[in-house]
C-alpha cells in the first residue's frame, strides 16, 4: 500500500476514525493490527520477520533489564544484533555477496556451487531492523528502560506511518508516546493533513514527473552523453529528495493525526554549504543512527586524526551498503566517505584561506562556492548511486564531459534549439517539463521561506483567504498535475 494510492486514501481515514472511537486503553491493539495489515499488503508472509525481530528484541530487552552484570547484558545485546543483522543479511545481502563471490571464482576459473537464494527483498527491512536495534542498544547502555508491554513494543517496531521508509525512530522518543492518552483534535488533524499534502505535492507533482527523465537517461546510458548525465544526476537529486522527504512528510503528518510526533528527517539539505552540513540535514534519522551507534563506538574523533578519517569513511561505506546490496551503493558511500574525510583534513587550511580573504559562512560568495561544491559532489555521487550497474557508472563517469563543450558553446551563442532537442529526447513533453520546473520553483520558494521557521506557523499568521488559497493551490496541483500515470513506488522502499 503506497501513500500515494487510493488504497491509502481509504485506509487512513478509516483507521483514524476507528482509532478515536476505541477506548484509549485498547487503541494500541487496533493500531498494531492496522500496522500489520499495512505491511502485509506488500507480502503477507514477511510479517513473520517483523514478529521475529519484535520477539527477540522484546525478550533481549527484558533480559538485559533483569541484570546489572555487563557481560550478561552484552550477551543479550549480541543475541539481538546477530538475529536482526542475520535476517538483514539473509534477505538483503546474501545474494549480493554470493553473486560477487561467484563472479570472483569464475574470474579465476574456479568452481562455485552455492546456489542463488530466490527471495524477494522484504520492504523496509533496513528501516525496522535499525529501529529495533536502536532499542536494544539503548537498553544495553541503560538509557532506555526495558519495555514490558509486548503489544506496545510490537507497535514501536511496526508503527505503520514510518514502518517501511522511516524516519528511523528512537525508542526514547516513540515508546512513551504510545502510552499517552490522546484525543482527536482539529489542530493535529489539520496540521497533519497539511504536511501530508505537502509531501504528496513533492512526490506526485515533482518526483514522479522528473523520474521519467531520470529513468530515460539511466536505463540507456550508452545512448546519451555528458550533458544528459549531468542533467540526469541533477534531476535525480531532486527526484530522490522530493520522493524521500515527501514520504517523510506524509509519515510525520499521518502520525501527527494520531497525536504522535515523529522526528524531523530533512531540513533543506540543498541549502548546505558543505557535505558535512548536508548530512546533518539529509535523512537525519539515519545519519544520527550511524553517529550514535557506529561512529562513536568506533572511537569517533577521540582516537587521533587518522582514526577519525577512517571512522568517517567507515560510516559512509556502511551507509552505502545499508542503502542497497549493490556495488554502486558501496561506491556511492565510499565517494562520500572520501570527500567527507577530505573536508575534515582541509578544514583548517580552508578556514585560513577564506579568513585571509575576509570571507565567512555569511559571505554570499563563500556560500555560493560552498553550495556549488556540495551539490557537485553530491550529484556526482548520485550518478553512481542511480546507475544500474557499476559498468554503467564507470561508463558515465568516463564520458561525463563528452559533448558538454559543444553544448555550452551552442547555448552561449544563443542557439537554444540544442536545448530543445536535448529535452525532447528525455521523455517529457513541453507541458510536463514546464509543470516540473514550476513545481521545483514552488519547492525552492517554500524552502527559502522555511529559513524563517515553520511554513505552517508562518501561514497560520496570514488571513484566512490567503491560507485557503495556498491549500487549494496545493491540492489542485496534486489533483490536476499529479503525475499519477507516471507513478513510481517510493525509492527508499527498496532499502
Amino acid at each position: 500500500m503506497f501513500f500515494n494510492s487510493l488504497h491509502y486514501a481509504l485506509f487512513l481515514p478509516l483507521v483514524v476514525g476507528l482509532y478515536f472511537l476505541i477506548p484509549a486503553r485498547r487503541r494500541w491493539m487496533f493500531l498494531l493490527a492496522a500496522s500489520y495489515y499495512f505491511y502485509m499488503c506488500w507480502k503477507m508472509e514477511y510479517i513473520v520477520l517483523i514478529v521475529i525481530s519484535t520477539l527477540v528484541d522484546y525478550y533481549a530487552g527484558l533480559a538485559m533489564g533483569r541484570t546489572e552484570e555487563k557481560a550478561k547484558r552484552k550477551k543479550f545485546l549480541v543475541l539481538s544484533l546477530i538475529s536482526n543483522l542475520g535476517i538483514l543479511f539473509a534477505f538483503k545481502y546474501f545474494n549480493f555477496f554470493n553473486e560477487s563471490a561467484r563472479a570472483t571464482f569464475a574470474y579465476f576459473d574456479l568452481t562455485y556451487n552455492i546456489p542463488y537464494f530466490d527471495v524477494l527483498l522484504p520492504v523496509g527491512i533496513s528501516f525496522y531492523t535499525f529501529q529495533t536495534l536502536s532499542y536494544t542498544i539503548e537498553v544495553y547502555r541503560g538509557k532506555q528502560k526495558p519495555e514490558t508491554h509486548l503489544g506496545i513494543f510490537a507497535l514501536y517496531v511496526s508503527f505503520f506511518p514510518q514502518l517501511v521508509a522511516g524516519p528511523i525512530e528512537r525508542s526514547t522518543n516513540l515508546l512513551p508516546q504510545f502510552y499517552k492518552e490522546t484525543s482527536f483534535t482539529y489542530r493535529n488533524t489539520a496540521d497533519g493533513l497539511k504536511l501530508i499534502v505537502w509531501g504528496l505535492f513533492k512526490k506526485v507533482v515533482i518526483a514522479d514527473r522528473i523520474g521519467v527523465m531520470v529513468a530515460t537517461i539511466f536505463n540507456n546510458p550508452h545512448q546519451y552523453s555528458g550533458v544528459e548525465y549531468i542533467l540526469g544526476a541533477s534531476l535525480f537529486a531532486y527526484q530522490v529528495y522530493c520522493d524521500f522527504s515527501g514520504y517523510s512528510d506524509i509519515a510525520i503528518g499521518t502520525a501527527q493525526i494520531f497525536g504522535i510526533k515523529l522526528m524531523t528527517n530533512f531540513r533543506r539539505p540543498f541549502h548546505a554549504i558543505s557535505l558535512a552540513e548536508l548530512w546533518q540535514r539529509w535523512h537525519i534519522s539515519l545519519s544520527t543512527w550511524f553517529r550514535d551507534y557506529l561512529y562513536i563506538p568506533l572511537g569517533g574523533s577521540r582516537k587521533g586524526v587518522v582514526r577519525t578519517y577512517f571512522n568517517v569513511f567507515m560510516i559512509f561505506f556502511v551507509s552505502g551498503l545499508w542503502h542497497g546490496a549493490a556495488w554502486t551503493y558501496v561506491l556511492w558511500g565510499s565517494v562520500h566517505g572520501v570527500f567527507m574525510a577530505l573536508e575534515l583534513m582541509t578544514a583548517k587550511s580552508r578556514q585560513r584561506f577564506f579568513g585571509g580573504l575576509r570571507m565567512g559562512p555569511d559571505n554570499i560568495v563563500y556560500r555560493a562556492l560552498g553550495l556549488f561544491y556540495t551539490m557537485t559532489i553530491f550529484n556526482f555521487a548520485l550518478l553512481i548511486f542511480r546507475a544500474l550497474t557499476v559498468q554503467d557508472a564507470f561508463y558515465m563517469v568516463r564520458h561525463l564531459f563528452d559533448g558538454v563543450g559543444t553544448f555550452l558553446g551552442s547555448v552561449l551563442t544563443g542557439d537554444m534549439l540544442v536545448v530543445r532537442g536535448l529535452l525532447r529526447g528525455l521523455g517529457l513533453s513541453q507541458k510536463e517539463l514546464t509543470i516540473a520546473i514550476l513545481a521545483i520553483l514552488v519547492l525552492e520558494g517554500a524552502q527559502l521561506l522555511q529559513r524563517r521557521g515553520s511554513l505552517r506557523a508562518q501561514l497560520g499568521t496570514k488571513p484566512v483567504f490567503m491560507r485557503w488559497a495556498v491549500y487549494y493551490s496545493l491540492v489542485a496541483a496534486i489533483v490536476f498535475f499529479g503525475a499519477f500515470n507516471m507513478s513510481q513506488q517510493f525509492i527508499y522502499f527498496q532499502f
Binding site: 482527536f184 483534535t185 482539529y186 540507456n220 529526447g425 521523455g427 487549494y472 499519477f484 500515470n485
Partner: protein, 331 residues
C-alpha cells in the same frame, strides 16, 4: 460527536465542495463520452473540440466502444488517411488510430491496447526517420490508458478540464472554439520545418534500440496471430530528404528500411522521384497534399502502385530484399 470532530468535518466539507462541484460538471459535460451517459453536449461539438485536444483519449474511448480489426497507426500523415475510403476499397473494417504528432512509442502502446480489445486482422504503421528514432520518446498514450480504467484520472486530466471549459464557452457563445492555428506564410513555415523541426529530430538522432526490439515483438505477435503487418514510409519533399544526408544519417535511414523489411511489408514512398521533387505535392516538407494521399491509398490498398518501392514481407523472408524493388511495379 465532539466539537473538534464537528469542526473538522465542517471545514473539510467546505474545502472539498469545489472539487465535488468540478467533478459533477465534468461528469455532466463528459467531453470525451467517457461515461457514455447522455451528455447534453452535441457529439459534433465534442468532435470539434475534445478530439483535437486529445486525439488519443478520443480514439481510445471510441475504439473501446466499437473495436475494429484493421488499424492505421502513426502520426499526422497517417491521420490524414481516409479509413472509410480504404475500407470500401478493400472490404475490410479499418480504423484510423493515428495521432497528430504521434510517436512510435504511442503507436506501439496503441497496438497493445487494441490487441487487448479485439481480434486484429491488419496493422499498418506509418513512420519515417523522425519517428524511428531513439530520441522520439513522446508519450501521450500512457496517461490515457491510466484514465481508461480510473474515472478519477479522467476527471482530473488536464485536457478533459480544458475541453470541458471550451465546450461550455462554445455552448454559451454559440461560436465553436478554434483549436489549432492555421499556418501563415507557406514559405516561412517550409523553412521552419527544415531548419527547426528537422534539426531537432535529426541532430538528436539515436539508434532506436528499444523500438527495434518492441517492433520485433509486435511482428512476432502478428505472425503468431496471423495479423498482417505493413509499414508505410510516407513521402517527404526532397528538401527534407537532403537533410538526412546533411546530418549524416543515410546509414540510419538504410538500417530503418532493413529492420522494417524483416518484420513486415514495407511501402516506401520516401525516395527521390518526380513526386517527391515536386513542391506542389506538399503542404510543407513533411505533409503531402490530398492528391498524394489518394495516390498512396491506391498504391497500398488499391493495387495501383505509383512512386512506391515495395519490399520486405516479414518473417517469411529473414533477409530483406532491397535491391530488386526499384521498379515500383505491383507485387
Amino acid at each position: 460527536m465532539s466539537v473538534e470532530v464537528t469542526k473538522f468535518l465542517k471545514k473539510l466539507a467546505i474545502f472539498v465542495l469545489p472539487f465535488v462541484l468540478y467533478s459533477a460538471v465534468i461528469g455532466f459535460i463528459d467531453p470525451f463520452n467517457y461515461f457514455d451517459s447522455g451528455s447534453p453536449v452535441r457529439d459534433e461539438l465534442k468532435q470539434d473540440i475534445s478530439f483535437k485536444l486529445n486525439y488519443a483519449m478520443w480514439k481510445m474511448l471510441e475504439f473501446r466502444q466499437t473495436p475494429h480489426p484493421d488499424l492505421l497507426l502513426g502520426d499526422s500523415r497517417m491521420m490524414d488517411m481516409d479509413a472509410q475510403a480504404i475500407s470500401s476499397l478493400t472490404g475490410d473494417d479499418f480504423y484510423n488510430f493515428a495521432y497528430g504528432g504521434g510517436s512510435l512509442k504511442e503507436a506501439i502502446a496503441t497496438i497493445r491496447f487494441a490487441d487487448d480489445q479485439t481480434t486484429l486482422n491488419s496493422l499498418t504503421i506509418g513512420l519515417d526517420l523522425n519517428s524511428y528514432n531513439g530520441s522520439d520518446v513522446k508519450d501521450r498514450v500512457s496517461e490515457v490508458l491510466g484514465a481508461l480504467d480510473n474515472p478519477f484520472l479522467y476527471i482530473t486530466n488536464n485536457t478533459v478540464m480544458i475541453a470541458a471549459w471550451k465546450l461550455m464557452k462554445s455552448a454559451v457563445s454559440g461560436q465553436p472554439e478554434r483549436i489549432g492555428q492555421p499556418v501563415g506564410d507557406r514559405d516561412a513555415f517550409w523553412r521552419t520545418q527544415l531548419d527547426v523541426t528537422a534539426r531537432v529530430y535529426f541532430a538528436n538522432y539515436r539508434d532506436p534500440v528499444l523500438y527495434r526490439a518492441q517492433l520485433t515483438e509486435i511482428a512476432e505477435l502478428c505472425q503468431e496471430k496471423g495479423i498482417r503487418l505493413s509499414f508505410i514510409i510516407f513521402p517527404s519533399h526532397k528538401d527534407l530528404m537532403d537533410r538526412i544526408q546533411s546530418y549524416d544519417l543515410e546509414e540510419a535511414n538504410r538500417m530503418m528500411r532493413q529492420d522494417l523489411a524483416v518484420m513486415g511489408t514495407v511501402y516506401d514512398f520516401a525516395w527521390d522521384n518526380a513526386s517527391t521533387r515536386n513542391r506542389d505535392n506538399f503542404k510543407d516538407p513533411y505533409h503531402f497534399t490530398p492528391e498524394v494521399m489518394a495516390s498512396i491509398i491506391g498504391s497500398v490498398w488499391g493495387n495501383q502502385p505509383r512512386f512506391v518501392r515495395i519490399y520486405g514481407s516479414g518473417s517469411a523472408h529473414p533477409e530483406p530484399v532491397l535491391s530488386d524493388l526499384e521498379s515500383g511495379g505491383p507485387r
